[in-house]
Amino acid sequence: MKTLLPSKSETDEPKHAEREATPSAMVPGRFGVYGGRYVPETLMAALHELEHAYAEAQKDPAFASELAYLLHHYAGRPTPLYFASRMTESLGGAKIYLKREDLLHTGAHKINNCIGQGLLARRMGKRRVIAETGAGQHGVATATVCALFGMECIVYMGEEDMRRQELNVYRMRLLGAEVRGVSSGSATLKDAINEAMRDWVTNVRTTHYLLGSVLGAHPYPTMVRDFHRVIGIEARQQILEAEGRLPTAVLACVGGGSNAIGAFYEFIPDKNVRLIGVEAGGRGTALGEHAARFQGGSPGVLQGTYSYVLQDDAGQITLTHSVSAGLDYASIGPEHAALHDAGRAEYVSASDESALQATVKLARTEGILPALESAHAVAEAMRIAPKMDRNDILLINLSGRGDKDMGILARELKLQGA
């Protein structure tokens, strides 16, 4: 059975047909040909343990009810679906709805997954939790859940990200987490994941790795998606209540892709609903200037999973750039790779500049300050809404709030004379 691994000659053939013809049922955690498990052998026992614990938890009504209780009473679910009327009016086209994940406790969707994995860590008897973070939102959510459950928490964060998301570093420390700076590579999210995996390999018997996106080896991409599915489940019901019909498109920013897959998943069977993922276009199209994996990348293996990767012709992972730390990553969740190849979801990119403009626009028309990550999805909506009909509906997953970005915004907007 052919699994993955296109050789150079194969990549000359039409990609779609080739990949659809080679799914693997042998290995769990495959999305088309993507996903899988590419890790050092030392981690395999822990991945099996986690997979088993998650499968057991899914069968346990007590797990579901505790998760639901905490999502409601602690995190603040369900989040509103808000009709952005002034934004809609100002764009003069499609109706804009915002799924307000930014209103969740800790300020982003990340808490959904952290509560779920925190409960799993407790079930597995692991008292030490490690995590990586880019923008710091996952680190803050992890530190929060560890405080809630009384667990030791260590967060790995690139030193570049620590600098640009300083407020979140303080928040994590206040919550009792230890933040360990990572200076290797580009000192951003990818390097933080490397360091977290090295910690996990070393302390695997006592430690749960609370991975923050739909990345890494199986079962993470599936499990993290499941914990975020609630976003799309709520949003679909809410838009039907508000409009009596489904949206024209669902938009979400895509770094690793956790908020996007959470928002998209429930709509996948709704073939008429466009799913639009927005990657970081950064400041240019050359390798190293962006994090648009579907435009500049090709299939490869990074950090445990087979997906699209930004790499050079020798297979070295290239540096990335984005004004938003949370999108500044060289690979993308494998399920997005499969949705991309199948043509079910579209992936576009928004530049640093347009994300900054979208932030200002949303702040001034609606009084809502989005995270720079989420602003990429807003930017794409601003681009396409004016060309659309007034009966069209754009549902944007507003995955996080922008308080953490005040330092960057102050600097960048001042440069632009705003």
Binding site: M1, K2, T3, L4, L5, P6, S7, K8, S9, E10, M26, V27, G36, R37, Y38, V39, P40, E41, T42, L43, M44, A45, A46, S184, G185, K190, I193, N194, M197, R198, V201, T202, N203, V204, R205, P299, G300, V301, L302, Q303, G304, V309, Q311, D313, A314, G315, Q316, I317, T318
Partner: protein, 263 residues
């Protein structure tokens, strides 16, 4: 060509190729072989070596920065094979550089260069079917890792697919030196013997003659990596080959002495 261990215990040496530069790597490799290495692991530098400790990370970073590619490592293998026909040659890599070259193209080039075997750090038995089939077509053996955390059923599964030798990881953790050979190691090797007749090599943290001596008590070969990579880091390019040769000769002589003491 096949992997063979002329010494007891066999000595396997890992080098990050391209650190400090390709020409020096070749001189170091020749010095190592001449000092009595059974198998040389030619490490392909990778931008994200997540199973490696700081020493090999730094070496890998230097080699990537000076532009060392998988094709350079294969070219070096070809030269070593020509100049030292008897030594075992293993390409030691993370998966992505091989994928990027294409597994078929890689295997063809490796076979042509005279490589004996391939070890991919992040390739587990369950994912390896296509990879093994391609390597087999080109008469390349596929070496797999076993870890102290691997339960018996995984050891059995790995034994089914492994060739050449079993690379047993001496302790949970990343590559790097340690004070003594971990207690985990003997237990792992003992468990693995139930499932395989292949030689078992012990690696991770083997950094001096005493360690090699301890390995000889229960395993067939010792892998020395970070200690040598660190020595190269500390030496000038001119000194590095002789320094590595002397270090390896020391490991080897002491190992034999140690074994005599034990027997």
């Amino acid at each position: 060509m096949a992997i063979q261990f002329a010494h007891q215990p066999g000595l396997i040496v890992y080098l990050t190729i391209g650190d400090p530069d390709l020409a020096t790597s070749k001189k170091i490799a020749l010095a190592a072989i001449d000092a009595g290495v059974d198998v040389l692991e030619l490490g392909v530098p990778f931008s994200d070596p997540l199973a490696d400790g700081p020493v090999i990370q730094r070496a890998s970073e230097r080699a990537v920065r000076n532009g060392t590619r998988l094709t350079d490592v294969l070219a070096l293998a070809r030269e070593l094979r020509t100049e030292r026909p008897h030594v075992g040659l293993v390409i030691f890599s993370y998966l992505n550089p091989l994928l990027r070259m294409g597994l078929e193209a890689f295997a063809k080039a490796a076979q042509s260069a005279g490589v004996d075997a391939v070890l991919v750090t992040d390739m587990i038995a369950e994912e390896s079917q296509e990879y093994r089939a391609i390597m087999k077509n080109h008469h390349l053996q596929t070496i797999f890792l076993v870890a102290p955390t691997s339960p018996d059923e995984r050891l059995a599964r790995i034994a089914e697919v492994a060739e050449g030798f079993i690379y047993a990881i001496s302790r949970v953790g990343i590559t790097g030196t340690q004070q003594q050979v971990a207690g985990d190691a003997r237990d792992l090797v003992t468990r693995m013997r139930r499932y395989t007749n292949l030689p078992i090599a012990l690696g991770f943290g083997i950094s001096n003659a005493a360690h090699v001596g301890a390995v000889a008590e229960f395993a067939d070969a010792a892998v020395v990596g970070s200690a040598i990579v660190a020595l190269i880091e500390q030496s000038s390019p001119q000194q590095a080959p002789a320094a590595v040769g002397a270090f390896i000769a020391g490991l080897h002589a002491s190992a034999i002495v140690e074994e005599n003491v034990l027997s």
